[in-house]
């Protein structure tokens, strides 16, 4: 069953990244390419701190903060310098490449000999032997749920409502005498914080920082958000954040199916076809809603 465990682990780690993209793409309506840089940023910070003997749990917080700073920069470039949204993301993504190299020192930092959040004395004591094979999954699940719950709580605060309003109807925000620019910056900060956190967890699970690990992160996250939100469109009882996490797991399952059963060259094509199938199924449901209405 370990391949299912693997899909869940990977899906949930990238699910945290997808939660971040959900904020920018779905809530703020901001196509944020910073993600390709902030995902390895979290990993770079983690690698730099772990090799200097920092407690692995503190790296989670610091990675989130570093990602938030990156998000704020994108926001400032967009809001204050009036650069278009897509371009401000590209600028930050490009800059972060070098910044990540400086932070980590080299393009590849192995973490085999470091203590990580998955592998330390505390965890060995807490998790009983029976559950040991699932230890990684349990930790990732807990982290993903914490992120989800905190995000749900935040979105129901006054600030969270304003955030949602900026994407849906920014005139309303202005009429409430709030600065929509600041709210966008805040949204980008939270989003990239989550993305960097995902990078931090991925680096600790994979036990390596690699500069190229962010390439395509945005696409994976976006696909997860779209799969999740369109499959569970009708289920009002389910939080959208949960749908996004599940979407990410489905994405990883598609990749796993493509990897296991097909020729290596065909992997990307099969993955693409699987997405299409998933999306068409959910699209039908949307049509039905329309005809019923």
């Amino acid at each position: 069953m370990s391949f299912i465990t693997s899909i869940l682990e990977q899906g949930l780690i990238y699910g945290i990244l997808a939660l971040g993209i959900y904020i920018t793409y779905k809530i703020l309506d901001f196509p944020d390419l910073t993600v390709d840089g902030s995902f390895p940023l979290g990993a770079a910070i983690t690698a730099a701190l772990l090799t200097r003997g920092m407690n692995p749990y503190i790296t989670l917080v610091l990675s989130f903060l570093a990602g938030a700073v990156a998000g704020i920069c994108t926001g400032l470039i967009h809001v204050k310098c009036k650069v278009r949204d897509l371009l401000s993301g590209i600028i930050m993504m490009t800059a972060l490449w070098t910044i990540n190299l400086y932070i980590a020192g080299t393009a590849n930092v192995p973490l085999f000999s470091q203590k990580t959040i998955f592998n330390n004395d505390l965890m060995e004591k807490i998790i009983p032997d029976v559950l040991a094979p699932y230890a990684t999954l349990i930790i990732v699940l807990v982290l993903a749920l914490i992120c989800k719950v905190l995000l749900d709580l935040y979105l129901n605060t006054k600030s969270g409502f304003l955030l949602r309003a900026v994407g849906d109807n920014d005139v309303l925000v202005v009429s409430l005498a709030k600065d929509k620019g600041n709210i966008k910056i805040l949204g980008l900060a939270i989003s990239n914080g989550l993305v960097a956190l995902a990078g931090c967890i991925f680096a600790q699970e994979e036990r390596v920082f690699e500069i190229s690990m962010g390439t395509g992160a945005m696409v994976i996250g976006l696909a997860s958000v779209i799969i999740g939100t369109s499959i569970f469109r009708k289920m009002t009882l389910l939080h959208t954040t949960t749908a996004v996490l599940i979407g990410s797991v489905i994405y990883k399952a598609c990749v796993a199916v493509a990897l296991r059963n097909f020729d290596p060259q065909a992997m990307k094509l099969v993955t693409a076809v699987l997405f299409l199938v998933v999306l068409i199924i959910s699209m039908d449901r949307k049509k039905k809603v329309n005809t019923n209405a």
Partner: protein, 336 residues
């Protein structure tokens, strides 16, 4: 409701597909003692890495382990994505293969990370610096059930060869991708050795294929010759660089046989097929139980081969010193 059914059915189909893949594989592994199932995880589609894989299978065959006869190979390619690499590693480990061959550094690290818990031996190749990658300790001893071959460049031999071919050259240019750890460590070695052969090093860092053309123009205006590393991005764009260099009659040296074939002047370098064969022999020892992976130190190609392209030499008006020409393992161009 119908749609819900379809969703459920699809999910069920996917789970079965995964389970099916798993079931068939674990059977073949435990049937007979004399047959082996191995996994190969290659990090990206790439000429040199493909050669490694080809050589690896040849190396196994030379030891009597032949694909189709007594060997089942599960070959997977991560398409240069770390997340996919991780999924492949987990999937190979859950299939309980007898051994995993990992090609290129990120794959080696990923496979080792997944396999160490399951006690599956890992044999890597095309890892330039196994010590920096924490796959071996400072004395070259494996850190666990993991060993293999390194494609570290023979930098000193290369510089010596260039000095012999171009006695008057002063500035030597190298283009490399800043994100490739292998290139960065090779640049460091070049830096420490150029003085010894009276060269001055001009380095040019790039980040993507799109930068190659501009960087090449700039580099060519500053140097007397160019030498290549095994940098993936640069090697993939080598024809662009060669075109520009030929216009200016600036010689470009390669780092492996394939680069000389497509038009580099010469190389004191690696033959990845030979490297793969060496790796395959190490893997055979592990499979046959002659030596554990942890008992074999990682290996490098001890004697680099000299490759020269005589047609390019003629075009550039360079005469290859006789000693060197005689020592050539292979010469391309009009001779062949």
């Amino acid at each position: 409701m119908k749609k819900k059914m379809v969703t459920v059915l699809l999910t069920a189909a996917m789970v079965t597909a995964m389970a099916a893949g798993c079931g068939s594989s674990s059977d073949s592994g435990s049937d007979k003692k004399e047959s082996y199932t191995i996994g190969i995880e290659q990090f990206a589609e790439h000429g040199s890495l493909d050669n490694c894989r080809e050589g690896f299978l040849k190396g196994l065959e030379a030891e009597g382990i032949k694909e189709g006869d007594n060997l089942t190979v599960k070959y997977k390619n991560a398409a240069a994505d770390m997340g996919t690499a991780k999924q492949i590693s987990d999937s190979l480990v859950s299939d309980k293969v007898d051994l995993v061959c990992a090609i290129a550094t990120p794959s080696a690290q990923s496979v080792y990370n997944a396999a160490m818990k399951a006690d599956i031996p890992v044999i890597y190749t095309a890892v330039t610096d196994p010590v920096a990658a924490e796959l071996a300790d400072k004395d070259g001893k494996p850190v666990g059930e993991v060993t293999g071959t390194s494609d570290k460049l023979p930098v000193e031999e290369q510089l010596k060869m260039i000095r012999e071919m171009l006695p008057d050259a002063k500035k030597i240019g190298i283009m490399y991708t800043t994100s490739e750890a292998n290139s960065v460590s090779a640049i460091k070695e070049y830096k420490s050795l150029v003085k010894k052969y009276d060269f001055e090093l001009v380095e040019k860092g790039i980040t993507t294929t799109a930068d190659v053309s501009l960087a090449a123009d700039d580099l060519l205006s500053k140097v007397d010759c160019i030498t290549n590393l095994t940098d993936n991005t640069v090697v993939a764009s080598l024809p662009t660089i060669l075109d520009k260099a030929n216009e200016k009659k600036i010689p470009v040296f390669g780092s492996e046989i394939e680069q000389v074939k497509i038009g580099c002047l010469a190389a004191e370098g690696i033959d990845y097929i030979a490297l793969g064969k060496q790796t395959g022999k190490m893997a055979a020892k592990v499979l046959k139980g002659e030596a554990k992976a942890s008992e074999q130190n990682f290996e490098t190609i001890t004697e680099p081969g000299f490759y020269v392209n005589s047609k390019v030499a003629e075009d550039l008006g360079i005469t290859v010193p006789e000693d060197l020409a005689n020592s050539a393992v292979e010469s391309f161009g009009d001779g062949n």
